[in-house]
Amino acid sequence: MSIKAEEISSLIKHQLEHYDDQLDVNEVGIITYVGDGIARAHGLDNVLSNELLKFDNGSYGIAQNLESNDVGIIILGPFDNIREGDRVQRTGRIMEVPVGEQMIGRVVNPLGQPVDGLGEIKTDKTRPIESQAPGVMDRQSVNEPLQTGIKAIDALVPIGRGQRELVIGDRKTGKTSLAIDTILNQKGKDVICIYVSIGQKESTVRTQVETLKRFGAMDYTIVVEAGPSSPAPMLYIAPYAGTAMGEEFMYNGKDVLIVFDDLSKQAVAYRELSLLLRRPPGREAYPGDVFYLHSRLLERSAKLSDKLGGGSMTALPFIQTEAGDISAYIPTNVISITDGQIFLRSDLFFAGTRPAIDAGNSVSRVGGSAQIKAMKKVAGTLRTDLAAYRELESFAQFGSDLDQATQAKLNRGRRTVEVLKQPLHDPIPVEKQVLILYALTHGYLDAIPVEDIARYESELYDNFDNSHDDLLQHIRETGQLPDEADLQAALKEFNDSFSPSNN
């Protein structure tokens, strides 16, 4: 086949029709200093704060410090081939990331570029990574539950859609597993999940992504990943980029769950940048605006008013503590910003209580209104029961002569702790949670040996799935407890058939 020269030239002509032959007028500065992820440039007199800048080597940067004779810039991307004396150019834009449906199921870096090797992401929508949080009139109070599928959370510290609930604990206390399980439980609930991993080991992230894939959770999840080997600016912008991706869905009336794993590493990255940019250090060498760093991020998670579509973004920020010290600088800051916290304790974790939630120190400030009625009924006394048990437990270690009432309380407490244990990656639907908690609070478990409770629980679920599905369905659909006589009859029938293991 021969191609005619005219055809080619007409094609080229067509392509170039919109070529605008204008002079490029750029404002440039000269780099005077390059450090770890940051640069200083002389010139750029008219640059705006947070403006995107372009370096000669193709990297982008964000103008951070505007001083009398130079500009402090954080560099997003490779900086090892930027030299003193290079030029840096204004772009007149601010930093944006691609957003939209096409991002779902992908693993991206904080710039929105895919890192999962599945090819280009074809999306034409972008959002600025920094944007104003919705105002007072744009919000409504949290009124719908976000089921985590974890009994201890849904019963004791319920989370509502649009809430910000801090997850705090030492390293290796199951924070990440909590997030992954919560994401797994959103399957089929029309919630888009965003998992922002900040400074987590790449191998860990890989494992989590594989877990999400195995349970089919990547169909509604975006993973934003800034590894420990990425430069500090990437770690710093990662949560903002993730939030921007979530906002796109939230403002389109959808429900979003975003997990920041974890914000202490982001604060450390920000501290690094701030010190290199020569901002004055404050307590623990964090800069003065480290509070604002997290408050402006978390304020963007909200439940929008119906006028704006009623979308929501639920945030689960993570903070890692050192030796259970929740009164350190960053933990107290974030506790004061969020609507409650879930405190994970390593001693509980190693004692086998998993998830290792410390019921006494965990609260949810808005969650009560975001629980279904049935759950509220069965879980009402759980917290006080548990607190009473913990108190008695330490007493009971000294003597064995305890009166009947105390014995009964201890007995119930042991079973409560046992019921709240839950294996990894096994979220439980809310109706079944109600069922087991109902059995617990109404004394059906009191006669069951503690070591048999896990088996009791799973057999109970199976039994109800097979023969009393109508009761479960009633809870699922109306959110109310079914007729108590029916429920009690069914439980009694199951109790009679349950045979404790004899050993």
Binding site: Q15, L23, D24, V25, E27, V28, D45, Q89
Partner: protein
């Protein structure tokens, strides 16, 4: 904390500017320092000697006096002051800053024009005038730099502003446009 060279240059430059303005001899000082700067570029030893801590100050003073014999009283006074305060290592920056202030006041700008072939004085002057007109300056002094790799056209760089009218840049733009269409 020690002051950065830039801070030092700003303080001394500003002081000199105000002083010369007060005495009404801005133009003379500007010219003289311009000459001095050219001279220093040819003999960088000048600064090395005057900022050398081993050479004693009387000797430095003699050397300096010999060089600036014909300068105006204001320039002389300032250059002596620098010697007293041991700021000769920052001399070039100070002059630079002073010149910037002078240029700003008189709406003068300096810059470079990068071209593929050498421009003659007349062409350069016209280019400068065109630029000055567009940005409301009274005059623009351009230096010519030859860089064959831009193929044609001209890249003007004045202060922070870069106007890229080179053939190479245009080709680059066409290339990105063609690649994006696919």
């Amino acid at each position: 904390m020690a002051l950065s060279r830039e801070d030092i240059a700003m303080r001394y430059g500003q002081a000199l500017f105000d002083f010369a303005k007060e005495k009404g001899s801005l133009d003379t000082v500007y010219e003289e320092l311009g000459e001095l700067r050219l001279a220093i570029k040819e003999n960088p030893n000048f600064i090395t000697i005057l900022s050398d801590p081993i050479v004693n100050s009387a000797e430095k003073r003699n050397i300096l006096d010999a060089i600036i014999e014909n300068f105006s009283a204001e320039s002389k006074e300032f250059l002596h002051l620098l010697l007293t305060y041991n700021r000769y290592s920052e001399l070039l920056e100070i002059i630079e800053h002073f010149c910037n202030l002078y240029d700003e006041k008189n709406l003068i700008a300096r810059g470079t024009a990068i071209t593929a072939v050498k421009l003659d004085e007349d062409q350069l002057a016209r280019l400068g005038q065109g630029f000055a007109k567009r940005y409301n300056l009274s005059s623009v002094r351009l230096e010519n730099q030859v860089d064959p790799s831009i193929l044609g056209g001209v890249i003007l760089q004045v202060k922070d502003l870069v106007i890229d009218g080179s053939v190479q840049n245009r080709l680059q733009k066409i290339r990105t446009q063609l690649m994006n269409k696919e």
